[in-house]
Chain length 317, copies 4
């Protein structure tokens, strides 16, 4: 019973051809489908459900929705009741509303981001089979990312007016969807303002994260790589393709992951996130970052937030 993992993200792109070059040839996602509205569906080679990324043509970059997969169909009934009991409006959508998925729950996080839960998506299998599989498939393109790993959503935070959507969305994920809080940034004169949080359902450090900002937005979505050596290859591939890199290979203090931040051609920030980081567990104590060490938390090596980190993002819905 419960949420298993991030299922997919629906990203808006301004130029589909440029976007496909980026997500297919640079990140190395595999194309699964294209629908009549021009939406393109992709997945990582190590994923077995049909897609984890939907690219939607638009004139504004950003995220339409984010979806998580739950363990069984019955879980949807449980979560529907819980969400409603929490005072959040939830709509049950019939199978097919999310393409290739069974029935789903549609609701907005307190931060305003649109989220779906679903229990079933068309199975297609990993690019390596289930019988005597090779450790990686031949013919991978670009960075060869394994799977959609997590997203960081920017939530409105204005301590002066008492608005903290990071805190509200975090509480919702913990109380309603049983996510485990793994790390948090506490700021302010009393060190009690949750400025950013990381939460997990898998044993990885995060399946979703929230960070405070002026408005609701998409900070980035991240794709998994095995390890640091894959990060160098990924950065080389980005250079070959003239991808705009935001932050070159570096370690996060938070999650310990090795990262590259970069932008898709529409300006949506992507990340390649490498390594397990640590084994997240329900009984692992929450890790807290204080305001003076926030820089090290985000970018461990420099200890400095580049200006873009908090000012460049795309729309959250």
């Amino acid at each position: 019973m419960g949420v298993m993992r991030i299922g997919h993200i629906n990203i808006r792109v301004l130029d589909m051809d440029a976007a496909l070059h980026h997500y297919e040839n640079v990140l190395g996602l595999l194309r699964a489908d294209r629908d009549g509205d021009g939406n393109v569906y992709l997945r990582g080679w190590d994923e077995w459900d049909k897609y984890s990324v939907i690219l939607s043509p638009s004139d504004r970059a950003g995220m339409n929705h984010i979806a998580y997969k739950v363990e069984s169909d019955d879980d949807l009934d449980v979560f529907r009741r819980r969400i409603e009991a929490y005072g959040v409006e939830v709509e049950e959508c019939p199978a097919g509303r999310l393409p290739d998925c069974g029935r789903s729950l549609r609701f907005h996080l307190p931060s305003g981001h649109l989220m779906y839960l679903y229990a079933q998506k068309t199975y297609v299998g990993k690019a390596v089979s289930t019988t005597n599989p090779e450790p990686w498939p031949d013919g991978l393109k670009g960075a060869g990312v394994h799977w959609l790993d997590h997203a960081l959503l920017m939530c409105e935070l204005d301590p002066e007016s008492g608005v903290n959507k990071v805190e509200e969305s975090t509480a919702f994920m913990q109380d309603v969807l049983d996510f485990k809080l793994t790390e948090q940034v506490l700021v302010g004169p009393d060190g009690d303002i949750k400025a950013a949080t990381w939460l997990a359902r898998t044993s990885t450090p995060h399946d979703i994260a929230f960070v405070g900002g002026p408005v609701k937005g998409l900070h980035h979505c991240a794709f998994f790589l095995d390890e640091w050596s894959d990060v160098l290859k990924a950065a080389d591939v980005m250079a070959k393709n003239k991808v705009k890199i935001d932050v070159t290979p570096q370690r996060h203090g938070i999650t310990r992951g090795a990262t590259i931040y970069f932008f898709d051609p529409s300006g949506n920030r992507n990340e390649t996130f490498a390594g397990l980081g640590y084994l997240a567990q329900p009984d692992m104590p929450v890790i807290t970052w204080t305001e003076d060490e926030l820089g090290r938390g985000i970018f461990y090596h420099t200890g400095e937030l580049n200006e873009a980190f908090t000012t460049v993002y795309t729309e959250g819905a």
Copy 2:
């Protein structure tokens, strides 16, 4: 609700000083305690509970017991009922029977291995703190392993007489303890004999595994490393310390992990296991290895089982 992870393993060693040199200076475990009977308690730097390895002085190498940690104390009542209902004798032990642990359940797997479940163990914290932690602590020794990752238990398998304790223990872990079967080796003329299995509760490829052999035994216990570069360092450290290496750096086909197999001074096989491998999930299809590709499954690069793999092991209880 449920089993979270491997909690600890109790290993018998013939020479405690030699064992401590090995587990502390080669593997890099931290010593937590030593009791009046001469048992020594150790943990990895990235673990927060007091210990994950108990070394017990003995004149026979092998494993005394293996223990898994469950999420809450109430879970023990649930599992007690389930285990009994499965027809397996289970004893509830008072707090302290497992040192520094709360009450525990004591039972034997169908393969005969002694297992405990417990919900509470003395918390001591990671070697990096919970406030603005560094990604790794200063002063690590040897390979600097992060945590006890899993164990592979050898189970009696004799197809001619119809004995298959791999299958029985696997079924128990699935049916009673809600483990997910991630990979299996099927052999025999009809390809229906479970000769080895890998099962998980975390999102990693395995928290326990079973392999067929002539008798019940301990094949190995494994400790986590981040990645392939750590494997080279670990192998170098073993060479500096004249550790008997069974299999030099290589990739497993099964789990995709990068491995070194080696022996502690008493002859218990250890492994350093590097990398996440893949994200194990309840809905991930089971991966099957056939008899003709079994070699690739175990040792992907050579495709050949070295003779020691199936003939060298220590006692299972």
Copy 3:
């Protein structure tokens, strides 16, 4: 003035199609040419001369000759005089005798191996250009080796009869061709028998090496990889292609290089050798390995020579 580096090796193969699959798709060499006699010419992507490997169809595996490139045409006259003065017969061959090369010197090492020196070979350029080059080219196959790095030649060694062709060939390389002895294995009751030597002209630990054995032979030829992470990829590629691996990823004590030993389909041993090792310099003291630590010298992790190391080789001429 002087020898610059290994120029090429001429290897005999039993099945050219199988050999080409191996050298092109597994090692990742680029095909440069095929002549009327069925010889195929290949090079690594990081080499600028036309070829560094000649595969010659034959019914006996082994090496026909090995060739080194000198800095200028005049050097050939100097070396001709030196070689003759050393009492070794030398033939000056006209341009074209070595295909695509200028005039060359042809002689046998004291160990009997046939060696050429040449100063000029057709220039074709690296797969990355000389203007704003990328760090690696797109479309690489297999392990993507950079260049032919060195060869280890087996020389007759029979201390009882006083035969030591390792010592004689080493002296020739030092005295006549100005090679620097970087490492040596000294064995025997008095520790004065040169059983193996490594010599360099570049700043790498070796451009040629000699090891004692029952007869003259080719132990292996090696191809360069950047680093340890490339070794894992190379081993994975070999597994995918069912290459017979002799020694899985391991470090050499001698040279410190990370290695895989494996066989081409004809039984010629290859190596992928990764990393600089150390900066070899004329004033670096010679490193000596004693008989009791010879195992660590060859295979640092296990400290044990596998049986194949000294018993499996192909013909040296």
Copy 4:
């Protein structure tokens, strides 16, 4: 005959205690000596001569001199004649003028940087011995750099007034000291202004480099690491020690090396340079970078020179 490699660099530091913490505990150099004037002598663990870095107390950061080691004492006579014949004033200094060194030649490059040549320095041996050495020593601190690899000297460049000390110093190194030009940056409307050059005597991509700037200065001195995984460790160590990092892990297009740029406490820029890059050879064609791709040449991943690269440096003499 000829220059072998960079021998040492003499760097001025403002606070010796802070400098020693940096060079010993962060970089991992070994202290060799301290003289009566407070100069401290250090070397990398993989060097055999007594020192490669002299730290001199001063109230101005920068470089006092740079020194290269030649192969034999006689070479000094040859180079003295050549340098004089080139019209450059040269002084022969007696043994001991460079501490622990034999006689030396003292002269200024056309760019004004003070350079010494010497043939002999006190031998102390690598931290691993010359008999059955381990691949790396126990007890290394910090990043554990192997050796001083190269320096990049800033030379006055003012195309409008026709001043190009990059070109002049490059020509001197080529014509007088037999360095090989491996890479160059050509800028200006006709693409004929040498704005930066890389030159080698070893088989590595560079033993010295020059870059144009407003005045003579020291851009950085670099220390060798094996590979990319060592770069992550080095960056982590810098973060632990709050070292000011200029450029986080990234690849150079020029030389292909993996780099971190950072500052010592006095503001002298250091680099950890990882990997061989490629095998530099006398017959390797010169690699040219054009003005429009200069950014990729320096920082391959971003393709952008950070502002500090050309504006922050310390004095060159």
